[in-house]
């Protein structure tokens, strides 16, 4: 088991429910070259890129920043990413946290008209500087959760994991080579598709009347280049199914990896094609949009579209139906799909677990 896989396994134990951990390691240029856990390579890259660029010259080894903002990489506000600056690179780790305020526990608030109803946003806030904890940042973070101790637990686990992974950061040369390899693998995998132009669409089925939007995709393979265009999808809607461009990229990368042998579900792999998620579409939500259910319903629609495009283009592997295989079960463990709020089972689990934690707020 690799260090990243071990780290993912460790993070899986932070909460007594699936917390969808993901980890990634980047070299000194900030490009994420190794990932493990949940299929979130491209969006981890987006978060790492934003944190590095926002903090700029202030960002130095020993710094640890948190980010949960859908506008800069996460799929929704309950995905917490910790980004750690280490000598020669960056380590990132992500967990789904139980709560970050907003209308309802768990960030699932179908009555919300914008992201602020789903919870608090933290674009890039350092919780440690030069290895020294920044208490005001930590307090501000946990103060905005109904379960501050559980949040602190998740944060500490992510910090510990990223610290352990510091030793796994590759040299600049190794990182560059890894990125190039993934990119080349992506290019090679796309060569397996028949040249042509293909179209597909799928509704976002929430089980609720009136909330549906449609994801539309067009795949063009020509002259050794591939272009996946989702910009024809419906505009973002007043329902929590809007997918950020980063999350859309995750979905596309995951489905391509499932259908094309050798395609890496990473940012480097995805760089082998041109992906256009659109602007202000249900596949490219703006910073105000509600996104809480995108990892379920919208991910399903995006993957169906990509899968159908793969079918049309002659992808060698058969559709394994991610939703039937694992997506639906994972989603239903968190979401009451009849009401689209946090499931009663998960609510009880959070309450029970919170009761066992020492109150430190």
């Amino acid at each position: 088991m690799s260090a990243l896989e071990e780290a993912t396994a460790t993070l899986s134990d932070v909460y007594p429910w699936p917390a969808e951990p993901a980890v990634g390691i980047a070299g000194s240029d900030g490009r994420v070259v190794r990932v493990a856990g949940a299929e979130q390579g491209p969006s981890l890259q987006a978060t790492v890129t934003y944190v590095r660029e926002f903090l700029g010259g202030e960002w130095a080894a020993g710094d640890v920043a948190i980010s949960n903002d859908p506008a800069v990489g996460c799929a929704d506000v309950t995905q917490l990413t910790v980004v750690r600056a280490v000598e020669g690179g960056v380590v990132a780790a992500r967990l789904r946290i139980p709560d970050i305020g907003g209308y309802r526990l768990g960030g699932l608030a179908p009555e919300s008209h914008d992201v602020w109803g789903e919870g608090a946003r933290f674009p890039a806030l350092r919780v440690s500087v030069g290895g020294v904890p920044v208490e005001q940042a930590r307090t501000m973070f946990v103060l905005n959760s109904r379960v501050p101790d559980l949040l602190r637990r998740g944060l500490e686990a992510l910090e510990a994991t990223t610290a352990e992974l510091a030793a796994a950061v590759p040299t600049a040369e190794a990182a560059a080579a890894a990125w190039a390899q993934d990119h080349d693998c992506g290019v090679a995998a796309l060569q397996l598709l028949r040249p042509g132009s293909y179209e597909a669409s799928a509704p976002i089925d929430t089980g609720q009347a009136g909330a549906a939007a449609v994801v539309r995709g067009r795949l063009a393979i020509a002259d050794g280049a591939a272009e996946l265009d989702l910009s024809g999808s419906d505009p973002e809607i007043d329902a929590p199914v809007n997918s950020t461009a980063s999350h859309t990229a995750d979905c596309c990368a995951a489905e391509l990896a499932a259908r094309l042998p050798g395609f890496p579900a990473t940012a480097a792999g995805l760089s082998a094609l041109t992906l256009d998620a659109g602007m202000g579409r249900v596949t490219s939500a703006g910073p105000r949009a509600t996104t809480a259910l995108a990892t379920g319903y919208t991910a399903r629609a995006i993957r169906v579209v990509v899968s159908e495009l793969m079918d049309a283009a002659g992808a060698p592997r058969q559709d394994t139906d991610w939703w039937e295989r694992s997506g639906a079960e994972a989603f239903a463990s968190r979401v009451d799909t009849a009401s689209n709020v946090l499931s009663a089972e998960r609510t009880r689990a959070i309450a029970d677990f919170a009761d066992t934690q020492e109150l430190t707020a």
Binding site: A65, A71, G102, A109, A120, P123, R126, Q136, L143
Partner: protein, 577 residues
């Protein structure tokens, strides 16, 4: 007071600090961006000190009392959080209602001015920013049952470190507002004002020396304390009680009691809220800082010529039952606390004071109707949210010797009526009516201000949330004066789906050309209406504030409309009857 004070210097310093506060306020007004700051003046400025570990309010501008008194708690919280980790050039901010705040949108900016190891002055600005995230634009979430449903919570944080903006903290705060450009501008104005305050305080220190400033602080605090003790010493000892009621908690609970027991003992006062309701599910719970502010608003209103400093607070002990409506604990929702139960806290305190100093009491509370509208402005393409304060401009009541005047009462005395024209420029509606309504003034020997009727036509589609209180338990009257007229709203006035709101509605759609109407009832009257000078009633009739029928019904005054005179014989008969 000790005799070694240089009285001239201390008086100069005291007045200089008042001027510093005025300059802070002018700086904010002239540099902030959002109308809630620039037009409505929903912010307050003060100067605090921390000497020998004691934090004190020294001076304030013509401030919103609920802001500036509560800021004392914020400054204390900031010191508790950062202790010795405070450096020249630092600026701090705190908003959390349970850490010295009131409700989430009230942001307090504090700039320590370190003169020596044990002498710190703190210019401070507390202002109501237009939005702090959470489920409801504008943050008056009538559905809130816990504080996380009311907006982003900010504990004491350093927002400027040794002169350098802590960029990531600013961006985090601004990521949690729907109006980041406005809030950034307002925050910069608050920080800028505190920097102006620092400059002026250092000039004072340079001119008079730190020792003189310390002596002045001692004098300032002692002076207020001594004055209040001298006044209270003349009040009759005893315990005076009153229970006032909040209409509802927006969660189905009605007539919620706020009980005040005011005890005068020698030169000291104690105010107990034993017997007040427990905290309630709806968003009207009052954290400690807010409750203290409301109590002191009432007390300062009956002692108008004593400088309001921490010295004023020294003879007063306030007892708040923990977990009650007036000392709410996290995570109770508190979004509406400054209005309700704030108004009721003031009313109950003032009614207890009525039994002690009846000639000094009057409406010091604020009206309790409010509404937020929000949507996309078709002219600008931008999201907008507005708490339409033009609809709630009234609350003044009668006091001994004077009728209720046309403005907010003491608790919001620094607020300004917003310009209707500017509002029309910035928001998608047109104001059609804003005027006194006939026969709505609370009768009394000195009547309350009449209610204001307000009507506007919306020019875009928008969502409207109304949080209304004071419909049944309207602003109280004193010494036999009647209550104010009370508040209500009418949405989509005149349309087939017209909706009258006396408590709340949430997210009601208003289409272009729809009408929005409100009545904002004035404050209570003072004294019996039959004691009102008949010629004052005649004047009110000539001004259109009372009808012929109203004059007879409410005041027993018979007016001959043909001659525009009072009929003395008929009036005497009516009053005798």
């Amino acid at each position: 007071m000790s005799s070694h004070y240089d009285m001239f210097t201390t008086e100069i310093v005291r007045n200089s600090l008042d001027i510093v506060c005025q300059e802070l306020s002018a700086t904010v007004e002239n540099t902030a961006l959002s109308p809630v700051f620039t037009l409505t003046h929903d912010y307050s400025c003060g100067v605090f000190s921390a000497i020998g570990g004691e934090v004190a309010l020294l001076a304030r501008d013509m401030a919103v009392p609920v802001h500036i008194f509560a800021s004392l708690e914020s400054v204390k919280t900031m010191f508790a959080a950062f202790g010795d980790d405070i450096h020249p050039g630092d600026v701090f901010l705190v908003t959390d209602p349970y850490m010295g705040g009131t409700h989430c949108p009230d942001w307090t900016v504090i700039k320590p001015v370190i003169l020596d190891d044990d002498t710190i002055f703190l210019p401070c600005v507390r202002g109501h920013v237009v939005d702090v995230g959470g489920p409801h634009p504008g943050n008056y979430n009538v559905d809130a049952r816990e504080i996380w449903q009311e907006g982003f919570r900010i504990p004491p944080v350093r927002i400027v470190a040794r002169g350098e903006v802590v960029r990531e903290v600013w961006e985090t705060m601004l990521a949690n507002t729907r109006m980041p450009d406005d809030v950034r501008g307002d925050l910069l104005a608050m920080v800028g004002a505190c920097r102006v305050g620092e400059r002026r305080i250092r000039e004072l220190a340079d001119k008079y020396g730190i020792a003189a400033l310390r002596e002045s602080v001692s004098y300032i605090l002692n002076y207020s304390e001594t004055r209040l003790r001298a006044l209270v010493r003349d009040w009759p000892d005893g315990t005076y009680e009153h229970t006032e009621y909040v209409d509802h908690d927006f969660a189905g609970n009605r007539d919620i009691p706020v009980k005040v027991s005011l005890t005068v003992a020698g030169d000291a006062l104690s105010v107990s809220f034993d017997g007040t309701s427990d905290a309630v599910p709806g968003f009207i719970n009052s954290p400690r800082g807010n409750t203290l502010s409301q109590v002191f608003t009432a007390l300062t209103a009956v002692c108008p010529d004593i400088p309001v400093t921490s010295g004023f607070f020294a003879p007063v002990t306030v007892t708040l039952p923990e977990g009650s409506l007036v000392d709410a604990q996290s995570p109770s929702p508190v979004g509406n606390c400054t209005l309700s139960p704030g108004t009721t806290i003031i009313d109950a305190t003032m009614k207890a004071l009525e039994q002690v100093v009846p000639d000094l009491v009057g409406t010091a509370a604020c009206d309790m109707n409010g509404a937020d509208c929000f949507g996309l402005n078709s002219r600008t393409g931008r999201f907008w949210v507005d708490s339409d304060m033009a609809a709630s401009v009234m609350s003044a009541g009668g006091a001994y010797g004077v009728d209720g005047w046309g403005a907010w009462a003491a608790t919001f005395c620094a607020l300004k009526m917003p310009s209707l024209e500017m509002a029309e420029v910035q928001f998608p509606f047109v104001t059609l009516l804003q005027e006194y309504a006939c026969d709505t003034a609370a009768p009394g020997r000195w009547r309350g201000a009449p209610a204001v009727h307000y009507r506007r036509r919306n020019t875009d589609s928008m969502l409207c949330t109304v949080w209304n209180s004071g419909y049944r338990n309207s602003l109280v009257g004193y010494a036999g004066g009647a209550r104010g007229a009370g508040n209500y709203w009418v949405l989509r006035e005149g349309a087939h789906d017209e909706l009258t709101v006396v408590d709340l509605c949430n997210g009601e759609r208003l289409e272009p050309n729809s009408m929005l109407f409100s009545q904002s009832g004035g404050g209570g009257g003072w004294g019996g209406a039959l004691d009102r000078d008949p010629h004052a009633v005649l004047d009110d009739w000539l001004d259109g504030l009372v009808s012929i029928e109203g004059a007879r019904r409410d005041y027993g005054v018979v007016i001959d409309a043909s001659t525009s005179t009072v009929d003395p014989t008929a009036t005497a008969a009516a009053r005798a009857g």
